[in-house]
């Protein structure tokens, strides 16, 4: 049949199936291929927290969502345009997120009696009118896969398992994707099993050909490339970006890297990645608990390493006492907190921004430290290096805030050349004549880093209050106040060493949106949309949360109304309100879900309307 070709600007596709159906693989391949073809892509894997949820159940549904576009995008898409549903449960769980009029491709082999029961359907949704608002393409993927592989010496189980690759092939034709990137990947993956490589390659092609030749697929869609800056790109998760960021930061600091960590969702992958970087000289200790994780890092820092610890909310709670120790001993340390829903165990796999106040104030005593927050998965790389730079230069622990959304979602990462990245190395103190453990650099107020093995610098530090300059233990009242003041001034002074906050849009006026961390994508997409409609508003996204950029007060003073969208009950709002004594509006969402561009857009439209 004659196929129609339509051009689209952007599409959100979601592969959904049972946990064992290989949806993460289909999604990753679709995303990488789309990136290779020049689209901007943004993804989010969404899988159950159960390790092996019972097959076919509603809570065992695993999904991978990709927004790909011919223009710049910053979220994985609010509404699904195309849902690939491998069984009844995956349709039921995801249907509400599909745009009315959207396309649903179902594997009807996953809609048998048992599947329907597990999905709690009385009647198959393929047989009543429950999908009347959508375009539905229903086919038996198991049948097609078996037909494609007839005659091959493979177990039925292996044959049936490749249905995810078949589904991928369908979508590759549907969106005019090239097969070669996935073929290359299959070759690497099944290098040692040529039979499986051949069968999967065949199935991918079969899916493609099926869509190409079947009347069920009357339209092919084309999405032009996004005209991104030239260079080498890859997709990267926030967690991998943190791991590589630490490794590169160590290289640029001319220091070896030590990670002391304890597994915790959703931060664990940073430990996974770094534990595999032996050939880059990375040492790691999977400690007996969160406390030992940070404690070992403090030991390594004293010994002259770039030391880091990685965790999520409950782990940050456990590390608090040790962070205070690093504050008073003034040792460099990078603490990566991948925020998740709390309190307590909360929502282990879900994103939230509810650790900001804890990062800011969650220690006993006066214990200020710098806080940096990554904006996107790829930005985790840059901010890890920035956190390291500050930690080393100012001899202080630094908290880098990521979240479950950035950690596991991907965004395209323009791969930098290591030589182009700034040198962030510092010098160890070596001169015994002039050495005093707490004699500060007059500009940064950092104390010297004097590491064991340096002759003549033997000294003791610890958690007891130090005498200014000598570092000797003292309880002198005036000295204590002075040291509290010095430690605070040192952190405040970093404001002179970070870029000023930038305002997009009008530089003064009615409405300013301030964001921080992982809400960057949603706010940016909403902001761009409203600006393209000619609306007047401004946007400022903060990376440095402590100290704040030096010009933030001035920026606030130039706007009548300020809105801070946050995935918490108003942490940054509270900080800015108390610091600058002015009311700020909040858009607060605490559902364990990322912020959507639509939600920001709706709120802004409402405010813009009120303003008139």
């Amino acid at each position: 049949m004659e196929k129609k070709v339509e051009k689209l600007d952007r599409v959100t596709i979601r592969f959904a199936g049972d946990s064992g159906d290989g949806m993460q693989l289909s999604g990753t391949q679709f995303s990488n291929t789309s990136g290779t073809m020049g689209n901007d892509v943004n993804t989010f894997p969404d899988y159950p927290s159960e390790i092996r949820a019972p097959e076919g159940t509603l809570y065992g549904v695993s999904a991978y969502q990709i927004q790909f576009s011919s223009t710049r995008i910053h979220t994985y898409g609010d509404r699904i345009d195309v849902l690939v549903a491998m069984n009844a449960s995956s349709l039921k769980v995801n249907l509400s997120k599909v745009r009315k009029g959207g396309l649903i491709i179902v594997n009807n082999a996953g809609f048998g009696k048992k599947n329907l029961e597990l999905a709690k359907y009385d009647v198959s949704p393929l047989e009543d009118d429950s999908l009347k608002d959508y375009k539905v393409i229903s086919l038996d993927m198991i049948n097609e896969v078996r037909a494609a592989l007839t005659g091959l010496d493979l177990s039925v189980k292996n044959i049936d398992r490749s249905k995810n690759i078949f589904a991928l092939g369908l979508t590759y034709w549907l969106f005019d994707r090239q097969l070669d990137s996935t073929e290359k990947w299959l070759q690497i993956k099944f290098g040692k099993k040529p039979a499986l490589f051949e069968s999967n390659k065949k199935v991918l092609k079969a899916g493609y050909e099926y869509a190409k030749n079947s009347d069920l697929f009357p339209i092919q869609y084309k999405i032009q490339d996004a005209k991104l800056e030239t260079g080498t790109y890859r997709n990267i998760t926030g967690n991998e970006a943190c791991a590589i960021g630490l490794t590169v930061a160590a290289k640029k600091a001319k220091l070896p890297l030590f990670l002391g960590s304890y597994p915790i969702t959703p931060a664990t992958e940073i430990l996974h990645w770094l534990s595999g970087y032996k050939k880059f000289g990375v040492k790691h200790l999977q400690a007996e608990d969160e406390i030992a994780g940070i404690s070992s890092a403090i030991g390594a820092s004293f010994a002259g390493y770039l030391a880091a610890t990685t965790t999520s909310g409950p782990g940050l709670s456990l590390k608090v006492e040790a962070i205070g120790l690093a504050v008073i001993m003034e040792l460099p340390l990078v603490i990566i907190d991948v925020q998740r829903g709390g309190p307590s165990t909360g929502l282990p796999t879900k994103p939230e921004q509810s650790d900001l106040l804890m990062a800011m104030y969650g220690r006993h005593g006066e214990a200020p430290l710098p806080i940096v927050a990554a904006r996107s998965a790829a930005d985790c790389f840059e901010q890890t290096i920035e956190a390291t730079r500050i930690a080393l230069k100012y001899m202080t622990p630094v908290i880098l805030l990521s979240d479950g959304y950035l950690a596991q979602g991907t965004s395209p990462f323009k791969v930098p050349k290591i030589d182009d990245l700034p040198d962030i190395s510092v010098k160890f103190w070596t001169d015994p004549e002039t050495f005093q453990p707490y004699n500060r650099d007059p500009v940064t107020l950092a104390r010297p880093w004097a590491v064991p093995g340096t002759q003549g610098l033997e000294h003791r530090i610890g958690g007891l209050e130090k005498e200014d300059i000598t570092g000797l233990v003292t309880q002198d009242p005036m000295n204590h106040e002075k040291m509290v003041d010095l430690r605070a001034k040192k952190i405040e002074g970093i404001a002179n060493d970070i870029p000023p906050a930038e305002v997009l849009g009008e530089q003064e006026g009615d409405l300013l949106v301030i964001g921080w961390g992982g809400t960057y994508g949603a706010i940016t997409d909403a902001y761009n949309q409203l600006r393209s409609e000619g609306k007047k508003l401004s946007y400022c996204h903060l990376v440095h949360l402590n100290p704040l950029p030096a010009n933030i007060g001035e920026i606030l003073s130039k706007f009548k109304r300020i809105l801070i969208p946050e995935l918490n009950s108003g942490h940054l709002k509270l900080i800015l309100q108390s610091k600058f004594m002015r009311p700020i509006l909040g858009l607060n969402k605490v559902q364990g879900l990322p912020l959507k561009a639509d939600e920001v857009e709706d709120k802004l439209n409402e405010l813009l309307k009120e303003g008139k």
Partner: protein
């Protein structure tokens, strides 16, 4: 691997003669323990041994947690950190894993090391991190002024147990053995010579070296160990463990320990029934025996063993880390950080 700034420090040769006098290890600060505290002797013996090891002063690091014992690093003129309650071991582990070139020592107590730091204790022992761990056991919390500790005895009257402790005490030697410590010894504060011997052996042991030191707290638990440490009572109530020697004890060396099945029993060497040939012969390499000996602790009818329970060889964690780094940098090919950055699925936009 590329060289780093720390390599320069590690490779820097020591200039001039080594510090070989105990005085060289005395920090210019007053020792603030109570007069008569067992800590003084432990400190003096440590300083004496450090001076003999042939290690440059700048290569020593002392780490402690919180408690009376944990003041220790302030008094030794080497690199030191006085850290958090219970966390000396993971901090010391971090130092040693990062810098295997350093000699890393931990000063801890029964509260710091076995109560709040109990989890870290068993895991540092299990990993066999190459540390010297001196545990000052005074069977009481002293810095907080006299509450019971995990080695306080059942029935002990303290400020937080006015009617007597209900807990059973930890047996530190058995705990260390159970957790996999490769060197386990017990000494006491009144015996300078034995302490020096133990500390020296601990320093030379490659792996987790644990020395429990019975330490008298003159203020809150005075005399707790007198039975085992005072000249008059010690011979009848302790037995010295000497590798390859039978277990003989008593003021007149007239008693010995014989194994009855797996149960150690006291026999007389003067009633004609048994001779030294019948006695249990100590073997530091025998882990089963080490447990049997450690479990003599707290048994009312048996002398308290003093000395080295066990000294066995097992690769240390820090050595294995170094091996893995070297091995994989060879096996996995060249150091190419650019490739790591690019990953496996990169694409070019032209």
């Amino acid at each position: 691997m590329t060289t780093t700034l720390i390599d320069n420090i590690i490779q820097q040769p020591h200039e001039g003669p080594l510090a070989t006098s105990p005085k060289d290890y005395k920090a210019p600060i007053d020792v603030r323990w109570c007069a008569g505290c067992g800590g003084f002797s432990i400190l003096a013996q440590t300083q004496r041994i450090l001076a003999t090891l042939g290690i440059p002063k700048e290569k020593f690091v002392f780490i402690s947690g919180i408690g009376c014992s944990s003041r220790f690093p302030y008094y030794v003129d080497v690199f030191g950190m006085h850290t958090l309650h219970g966390r000396a071991l993971p901090i010391a582990s971090g130092v040693k894993i990062a810098r295997p070139d350093l000699s890393v020592w931990v000063a801890t107590g029964d509260g710091d090391g076995l109560s709040i730091g109990g989890n870290h204790f068993i895991h540092a022992a299990r990993r066999n991190v190459d540390l010297q761990v001196l545990l000052f056991n005074n069977a009481v919390y002293s810095l907080t002024k006299g509450q019971y500790s995990p080695t306080s005895l059942e029935g002990q009257i303290t400020k937080s147990s006015p009617l007597g402790v209900l807990d059973d005490p930890f047996n530190p030697a058995a705990l260390a053995l159970g957790a996999g410590a490769t060197f386990v010894a017990r000494a006491y504060d009144r015996d300078a010579k034995t302490m020096q011997f133990m500390f020296e052996r601990a320093a030379k042991h490659k792996g987790f070296a644990f020395v429990e030191v019975y330490t008298n707290c003159v203020i809150f638990n005075d005399g707790a160990f007198d039975e085992y440490t005072m000249k008059d009572s010690r011979p009848e109530h302790t037995v010295e463990l000497i590798h390859g020697q039978p277990l003989v004890f008593g003021a007149n060396q007239d008693k010995g320990i014989k194994l009855d099945g797996f149960t150690p029993t006291v026999v007389s060497l003067t009633d004609g029934k048994y001779s030294k040939d019948d006695l249990l012969v100590h073997n530091e390499k025998d882990s089963t025996l080490a447990f049997i000996l450690a479990n003599m602790t707290y048994k009312p009818n048996l002398p308290r063993p003093m000395g080295v329970f066990q000294a066995v060889d097992r690769p240390s964690y820090n050595d294995k880390v170094v091996w893995q780094l070297d091995h994989y940098s060879k096996v996995k090919g060249a150091y190419d950080l650019e490739e790591l950055l690019k990953g496996e699925d990169s694409w070019e936009i032209k």
